[in-house]
């Protein structure tokens, strides 16, 4: 059975809406041959611009709808599905509104609006891709557990390791203490890059692997505990790394959306101010 995603929600209702809007715009654009070529100032240009502006405002309202838990205006799932498809339709409608006449050579509010719109849509496509791929991988990683569970496991391993290391004496208590202080990532942004290869736990595991070859039962047990710690750490890092990349697009998508809203207001007002 195919998993229903936000793309296939409601029997692709919003895919159909997107196809209709884009096709209608493209057909109108091809049919309309104004003097001097297509541009935003013809009746079709104004129409496409109005539709595009309304779409932008509605798309941004998703942020409010997401937080409005009591509302009964559609389901959040339906809103999300429509958000994705109408956002894609906006790329086509907005581009046709420009009539492919954009002045990228000088800084101006009109080109800025277009660039921001396309950046927001591109980051949205990135977000859809992330949401389609990563959550499945993340739930496979956790395998029914959650982060707190992993963290509890880690604490338990550390407690057992400390007791065992203290009984073994020598270098082991220090090494285990270092291992217990091993951080998940060197910095908050570190989770976006690959996890550190040679952390304190990794070093403890390497040292214990050699020592445990001697056949000492205590060292073998400590080795097993630290291997378990290393695996738990790797799972948490992998999870947090994937989650960070799954959420990163929003860092661009949301602020750029508000920049777009400002540029859109400036675009519309300035066009009519200097009509």
């Amino acid at each position: 059975m195919t998993r229903e995603t936000l793309l296939s929600a409601y029997g692709f209702r919003y895919l159909k809406l997107m196809t209709f809007l884009s096709t209608a715009s493209a057909v109108a654009y091809a049919w309309h041959q104004p003097r001097g070529g297509a541009n935003g100032g013809t009746w079709l240009g104004y129409t496409l611009g109005t539709v595009g502006a309304l779409l932008i405002v509605w798309l941004i309202l998703l942020g409010a709808r997401k937080r409005a838990y009591r509302t009964r205006i559609g389901t959040l799932r339906g809103w999300l599905s429509a958000h994705v498809y109408l956002g894609l339709a906006l790329a086509i409608i907005g581009t046709l509104h420009t009539g492919f006449q954009i002045n990228f050579r000088e800084l101006n509010v009109h080109a800025l609006s277009y660039v921001l719109m396309m950046l927001v849509i591109a980051s949205g496509i990135w977000g859809v891709a992330a949401y389609l791929r990563n959550p499945l991988r993340m739930s496979e990683l956790l395998n029914g557990r959650n982060l707190s569970g992993l963290q509890t496991g880690l604490t338990a391993v550390d407690e057992d390791s400390r007791v065992l290391a203290a009984s073994l004496g020598g270098q082991w208590p220090g090494l285990i203490e270092e291992s217990a202080r091993a951080r998940l990532f060197s910095s908050p942004l570190g989770r976006l890059s690959r996890p550190p290869r040679n952390c304190a736990t990794g070093r403890a595991v390497a040292a214990l692997r050699e020592a445990s070859l001697g056949g000492d039962a205590g060292l073998r047990e400590l080795y097993a505990l630290q291997v378990r710690r290393a695996r738990l750490l790797a799972e948490m890092r992998d999870f947090l790394h994937t989650k960070a990349w799954t959420d990163l697009w929003l860092v661009f998508h949301v602020p750029l959306s508000f920049a777009l809203l400002a540029a859109l207001i400036a675009h519309i007002v300035s066009v009519f101010l200097y009509w």
Binding site: R35, G36, N39, G40, G41, Q101, N103, R105, E106, L107, N108, V109, H110, L112, L147, Q151, L154, T155, D158, E159, R162, E177, A180, R181, R183, L184, F185, P188, R191, M236, L240, A244, D247, L248, L250, V251, V254, P255, L256, S257, F258, A259, L261, A262, A263, I265, A266, H267, V269, S270, V271, F272, L273, Y274, W275
Partner: protein, 507 residues
């Protein structure tokens, strides 16, 4: 035990930190929203509408530069004489006032695209055209500078509501450096056809025929010809579908004789003449320099007066000047008893041998009689047989010539004035230089024309060999109305120099 708690809280703290959403989305959103709105709407808006509210925006040097670049509405442009300008005003713009310029030119961020080359100097002075906020660019804004533009039809005579369109509805700015020039050349056919396809419903008195597209719905051309009933001025006559239009002239000039493929007899034997031997392009490539007797005809059509002197010629000028020259020459011969020495190198004599004559032509200088009869004989020979009459309409007059001139006692003649050459299609935007890849014969049937009266203007069929209508066609130039026609025409004017024009006339 302390290490234990530390460890636990360290992981908890790190995890708590990592669970928080990435980035500072709310802060970033606010900063970008306010920043973009401020830079692209707030500041330019205040600078444009209420600069006084934000004196810190003022940039006196910039403002001075902008003001200096504005044309003076009180003054007609330098290149036009005031007398002409006043007659051509579409609207009286002397009270045109410019709005104050935007502070620091901050509204430049609203510029959607580059201005045309001619308007580019005002790229940082938006309000010179966008004078009234929230109102489209007014015609008055354009006419503040374009004082001399002509209406399509005289608004005092004909009221055509369709012509009430704003300037900017046709002339669309912000489309790049050469966009306006392009638009002017390629006015889209359907816009003209809106009225011109059924022009009589818009203006019943018009003599213009309906037209909607050059390819298949355009009338035959009308050419400008002189009135043939003795009236001064010109009339426009439609080219016939078959045959040629004729325009009266007193000049005898058969193109076919000169362009004969076997050549034409000249001083250096057979000569094969080309159109360019006489028709040299003028400086702007539109038409041709005037054809002159001295530069283009006289090397063959020499005005030789005395066979004894093979290269002595009478002037190509007024009749008295010719007669004076002859009279003075033969008086010199008679009084000195000598023939003057050759003034230059010898050339072939121009006197033709007549049927029955086996010997060289007569020589007036040593012929019988006095100076008067020798000059008379020479004059009759020149005017009526060998020179003037070849190209001109020559009539012998009774009576004496201009008193107190040497030639007064010789026979007198009148040479019919040769009408000045004129443009045939003064309203068409046509340049010969743009058509230089085609041979002259492609359009002008000069090789078969045996009379100077024949108007060698090609009909529409010839143009259609290479020009399609608005829609492109294989091997043809897609041609909108604006390719050949102007919109703002001042009326019929006569172009000075055109093909086939002959310099002045010898009268």
């Amino acid at each position: 035990m302390a290490g234990h708690t530390d460890n636990q809280s360290a992981v908890v703290r790190e995890l708590a930190r990592l669970k928080r959403p990435l980035g500072m989305r709310r802060l970033l959103s606010w900063v970008l929203f306010v920043g973009v709105l401020g830079v692209f709407l707030g500041l330019p808006g205040v600078a444009s509408l209420r600069a006084a509210w934000a004196p810190f925006l003022a940039e006196p040097a910039q403002e001075a530069r902008v003001l200096a670049a504005r044309p003076d509405p009180q003054k007609p442009p330098d290149y036009i004489e005031a007398s002409t300008a006043s007659a051509w005003h579409l609207a009286d713009q002397t009270d045109h006032a410019y709005p104050p310029p935007t502070a620091a030119g901050l509204d430049r961020v609203w510029n959607p695209g580059p201005l045309s080359a001619a308007h580019a100097p005002w790229s940082d002075d938006c309000k010179i055209c966008h004078s009234t906020p929230f109102k489209r660019v007014q015609d008055a804004d354009c006419l503040g500078c374009h004082k001399l533009i002509h209406a399509h039809v005289d608004p005092d005579r004909i009221d055509v509501p369709a012509l009430a369109a704003r300037c900017a509805s046709c002339h669309q700015e912000h489309r790049g450096s050469f966009a306006l020039a392009e638009q002017n050349r390629h006015a889209v056919g359907s816009d003209c056809a809106d009225c011109h396809s059924e022009i009589r419903t818009h203006y019943p008195e018009t003599r213009t025929r309906p037209v909607s597209d050059f390819a298949d719905a355009h009338p035959q051309f009308r050419v400008q010809l002189r009135h043939d009933n003795g009236k001064r001025g010109f009339q426009r006559v439609r080219l016939p579908e078959k045959g040629m239009l004729k325009e009266a002239t007193t000049l005898k000039f058969p193109h076919d004789v000169h362009l004969k493929r076997s050549g034409v007899r000249g001083p250096a034997g057979k000569q094969h003449m080309k159109c360019a031997d006489c028709h040299a392009p003028d400086a702007d490539g539109v038409s041709f320099q005037p054809v002159t007797m001295a530069a283009h005809c006289q090397s063959c059509h020499a005005l030789k007066m005395e066979p004894a002197l093979s290269n002595r010629e009478v002037p190509h000028g007024p009749v008295p000047a010719v007669l004076d020259t002859l009279r003075e020459f033969y008086v010199f011969v008679a009084t000195t008893g000598t023939v003057p020495r050759e003034p230059g190198p010898l050339t072939d004599t121009v006197l033709v041998r007549r049927p029955g004559e086996s010997r060289a032509p007569r020589v007036f200088a040593t012929a019988a009689g006095d100076a008067h009869s020798r000059a008379s004989a020479s004059a009759i020979e020149l005017f009526e047989k060998t020179a003037c009459v070849v190209c001109h309409d020559v009539k012998r007059l009774a009576g004496k010539g201009k008193p107190d001139t040497p030639g007064a006692d010789l026979p007198q003649w009148k040479i019919a004035p040769v009408p000045k050459a004129h443009g045939f299609m003064p309203k068409a935007l046509f340049t010969h230089s743009a058509h230089s890849t085609a041979s002259c014969e492609t359009c002008h049937a000069a090789r078969t024309s045996d009379h100077a009266e024949e108007v060698l203007m090609p009909g529409i069929k010839t143009c259609r060999d290479c020009h399609a209508g608005s829609s492109p066609a294989p091997d043809k130039v897609a041609s909108d109305c604006g390719l050949c026609h102007g919109f703002h025409w001042p009326g019929t004017t006569v172009h000075a120099a055109v093909p086939g024009s002959v310099e002045g006339n010898p009268q």
